[in-house]
Amino acid sequence: MKEIIRSPLFALLISILAYETGIFINKRTRIAFFNPLMIAIALVIGTLLALHIPLEDYKKGGDFISLFLTPATVILAVPLYKNINSLKKDYVAILGGVIIGSVTAILSVWAMAKAFGLSKELIASLIPKSITTPLGIELSTQMKGIPSVTVAAIIITGIFGAVFAEWLLKVCKITDKTAKGIAIGTSSHALGTTKAVDIGETEGAMSGLAIGLAGLVTVIVATVLFKFGFF
């Protein structure tokens, strides 16, 4: 039995089952905060802990699923291409939003971390939290942060984004499709984008675009600030 529950196939099985359950709960309750992804993650973690399956064993199958993240990010060019007219029409607003959003991300994290009295190392680790993981790891290393803390912060941020985006955008009267998508992608990268593609094609396309743009702007701005000893 041990071999069976430790095989990559079992990891795949519980991941799909957990996700199906997440979708089921989300649809049945119609509560947006019950995000299927969040429920699935919680269920898998619960299963691993209950059955005493080490994370390393789950990872064997999990890595197989993660493998799809690169092609899934690349393919976001398709909705973007389908929305090329919004892109042409609104590029000034899009760039403005991404730049101001990314600078806000850096400064707000820095200010809050300072207020909490966190160490320099931790501040550097948290600054890339809104951008996509590979860029975030690089930026964190560059600023002498702890890459694993950065990865954790990026994932936590993404889950918050995915869970609360729809509600927050509604409460704050952000109704324009482009604004919604760019806001989600800039604040919570590819993980938030899972929610954006769920809201609509234009939102998904813009969120996908913002993953790359916000990552780029954040790396440039943070690197300059770091070089001048701001952090």
Partner: protein, 116 residues
């Protein structure tokens, strides 16, 4: 075979993206380079939309699912985060909200001005 053939096109682009990142040292993640490449291929007509339509729907429909292992991986960081877990959670929570609102409002403001 159709889905697999379409997947091949996407994988080739992913691969070129990785090569540009690792070998040519383009300072962007392979996935982002790939996204730009695919976008260029679609605009120039090198790749027609119907050649990747099904795989695109499959990947985008399951985008959230592909993130499950990354989220489960948080379990491995509990040890590192333990000491400052509360401030980190609060910072992630608050700043994500702030950035989302500021970005959205900025875009609506710029668009609104242009429209007048």
């Amino acid at each position: 075979m159709k889905l697999l053939r379409q997947f091949l096109i996407v994988l080739i682009i992913c691969f070129v993206g990785e090569v540009l990142n690792k070998v040519v040292h383009v300072p962007l993640p392979g996935s982002i380079i790939g996204m730009i490449l695919l976008f260029i291929c679609l605009i120039t007509g090198v790749i027609k939309l119907d050649k990747i339509d099904e795989i695109s729907r499959f990947l985008i429909d399951h985008l959230a699912f592909f993130f499950i292992p990354a989220g489960v991986g948080l379990l491995g960081y509990v040890g590192i985060l333990k000491k400052s877990i509360l401030p980190i959670l609060v910072i992630c929570f608050v700043t994500t909200f702030v950035v989302m609102i500021v970005t959205g409002w900025t875009i609506q403001m710029i668009k609104g001005r242009k429209g007048k």
